[in-house]
Symmetry: C2
Subunit: 408 residues, 2 copies
């Protein structure tokens, strides 16, 4: 069961001027489900993205990166049910063919289309079914279709993931709306499998590219469900430039700061929804590491805790078996770590210090926090001033069940 | 259920001259179980060990390392039920007190005793119960007690783990007998939680220390159950020098090579037993990575596969969802990996090459191998001449069950 995600109402999502979305049933893996999404962008929309660092990256990732470099972007096409990953040269051809057909339908070049796929790895993409489904998706395009789009990109997700926000820039109202999907194979390294955030802000391409990286590093790049980095991760920010304020061209401007904060908030909301809907999740865990020497060591400690199957099963059981967290900190890879200097808190409860259990810690306090559905693990390293936060979920029977039966 | 470990018969284990073992019920965590082991060593026994790299290493690990440096060793004491880890300064005092009491009973100094603990982390060691149990353990000491010792060090282990072997050196028969425990929190980094191998070989201390490192790197340091490195890992080799051959003093000698091979075989047998008895294991998986540029990248690829929850749940389900293995290779951290050059085999079945599914691969062949209880994943990187082998198990409902209820 997803942890504390409340049903999203279509009306909560604000359209972004300059972008329409259309969905269709292409029958890619299963019949009678929306599995194809087309997004059409007005001319002049700036597009920037970050993609998976997995060396076995999927064909659509390779093609989308090429197309982004070659041309301005006018359309995105997303299919679920098949990742078109581990499909070699044929996979590339299938991704290009999908782009070419959408380009023909909407009147642009194939290079102006970015392809995305999600689903099972190492099976041939049913490109004929996608091509056959494209006209219906194009015909369905409208501005207020974000909720349908969020549904169309789901795979093992239980709930659709979307968020909207507005911010005032230069006296104008700027809208930001985003959707994402993902619940397993989640340990993004650049971005997660399919996050799209659109805004009508006016921003140069260089500034937008800087913004997408920084937003990813504070959202999708700080979540993990199972530590498996997907072959298909992509996080894309679209800026249509319709909001009417002066163009943002400098990363040291106040306007850039406002937009970056708003986009990062939407991206972090989406990223946390992915964790809340993590496969089999029953708890939402925030791992906050403070007072590290540098960000790198904070990240190491946070992920050691967030990836430990022993820590995650203890959360599932609501068992304050907190020595497992100490063990994870100990093997995080900080060679000169002095464990006697560390404090470990569970929410507000001081659990360990001076290399052992805190004097005033009692099991009842630990149990009280462990019983909650949302828990913060707070580690104070006392080595410097760097911090990081990572979000994850627990590890349950249902994770095994879902992943032992994903293809059947 | 442990995977293909056959019941060990007490008679299979050969005594090692110069070593006696005694066990007792100390009631450390639960009543009516053997939870205390004492090993007494004849004078002149060489002792070498490798210990966990976890920075939160347990109090007995700190004390054992100090004692090993300070003095010759005459006794070992092992308790289960409590790891004496994450226990701060008090934990150190408890470990030293245990050594002092055993020293008093057998007539040596506290520095000549090495302490070991395994069990729950961050709870105070019930040192009084251990001290009270020591006389019975000492009284029980005898040479043919290896089977009882293997039983006494179990925690969540289902089967006791032990192995014996003999080798001819310099015209003399040399005996090697070892015991080990462990089934969860298994990703040794130096050695696993409690592996002891004893031999009557005659070998200098320097040569024995080199041998223990090399044996660990080919056995305990190549297994993983859940990727969690324990706070208490220790692998100890004892050499009593009773076999009567000339002392081995050079690592380039034929005699050293013979002994090293035999000790490594016993250690690898024990390490594989730990994986076969991995918590919830239903399959035994060998991950063999060949033709890497160096050992480091082979190890990275092997562990990326062996730690992936998605790969491990697919094995549990006997589902040839083999794209998950490609994804794990892709995120293993080899920056310049050309995925089109890799071959992936499942036993003898070529699954993937040239970046995608192999032309002749068919699902039936993959399914046939996945149905087996023992499977080899074979990755050929085609980048060089380095190789490594890692052993692991699948990831089942029972892993979650065992670890969600370990303390109750």
């Amino acid at each position: 069961m997803p942890v504390n995600i409340f049903p999203l109402l279509p009306g909560h999502l604000l359209p972004v001027e300059g972008i329409t979305l259309g969905i269709a049933e292409a029958g890619i893996k299963k019949p009678n489900r929306k599995d194809l999404l087309v997004m059409l962008l007005d001319e002049g929309t700036q597009v920037a993205g970050v993609f998976t660092q997995n060396r076995f990256c999927a064909a659509p990732v390779i093609v989308a990166k090429q197309h982004l470099m070659q041309s301005s972007t006018r359309a995105l096409v997303v299919n679920t049910g098949n990742a078109n990953a581990g499909t070699g040269e044929t996979g590339i051809q299938h991704a290009v063919a999908t782009c070419a057909e959408l380009a023909r339908l909407v009147g642009c070049t194939a290079q102006q289309v970015l392809p995305f796929s999600t689903g099972v790895i190492m099976e041939p993409l049913p490109v004929d079914r996608i091509v056959a489904g494209l006209p219906a998706a194009v015909a369905n395009c409208k501005t207020d279709n974000w909720f349908g789009a969020a549904q169309a990109i789901m795979t093992t997700d239980i709930v659709p993931k979307a968020a909207s926000r507005q911010v005032q820039i230069d006296g104008k109202t700027v809208t930001i709306t985003g959707i994402a999907k993902g619940s397993g194979m989640i340990r993004p390294n650049m971005a997660t499998m399919l996050g799209y955030v659109a805004t009508d802000a006016v921003i140069s391409h260089d500034s937008l590219q800087a913004l997408v990286r920084s937003a990813a590093d504070r959202s999708f790049n700080r979540i993990t469900v199972d530590g498996d980095t997907s072959t298909n991760d992509a996080f894309i920010v679209l800026a249509t430039g319709k909001a009417g304020h002066r163009e943002i061209t400098r990363q040291d401007s106040a306007e850039y700061g406002l937009l970056q904060a708003a986009v990062t908030t939407v991206a972090a909301d989406l990223a946390k929804m992915i964790v809340r809907d993590g496969e089999g999740a029953t708890k939402f865990i925030t791992v906050q590491v403070d007072a590290g020497k540098d960000a790198d060591e904070c990240v190491k400690v946070a992920y050691a805790i967030a990836h430990s199957p022993l820590v995650k099963t203890a959360f599932f059981a609501s068992d304050p078996n907190l020595g497992r967290i100490l063990a994870a900190i100990g093997y995080a890879g900080i060679d000169d770590l002095d464990v006697s200097g560390i404090q470990l808190y569970l929410d507000d409860v001081l659990v360990a210090e001076q290399g052992g259990r805190a004097l005033n810690y009692c099991e009842e306090d630990g149990q009280r926090v462990m019983n909650q559905s949302e828990i913060t693990v707070h580690v104070v390293l006392n080595r410097g001033s760097a911090s990081t936060t990572v979000w994850t979920c627990d590890f349950s029977y249902d994770y095994v069940k879902i992943n032992a039966s994903y293809r059947s």
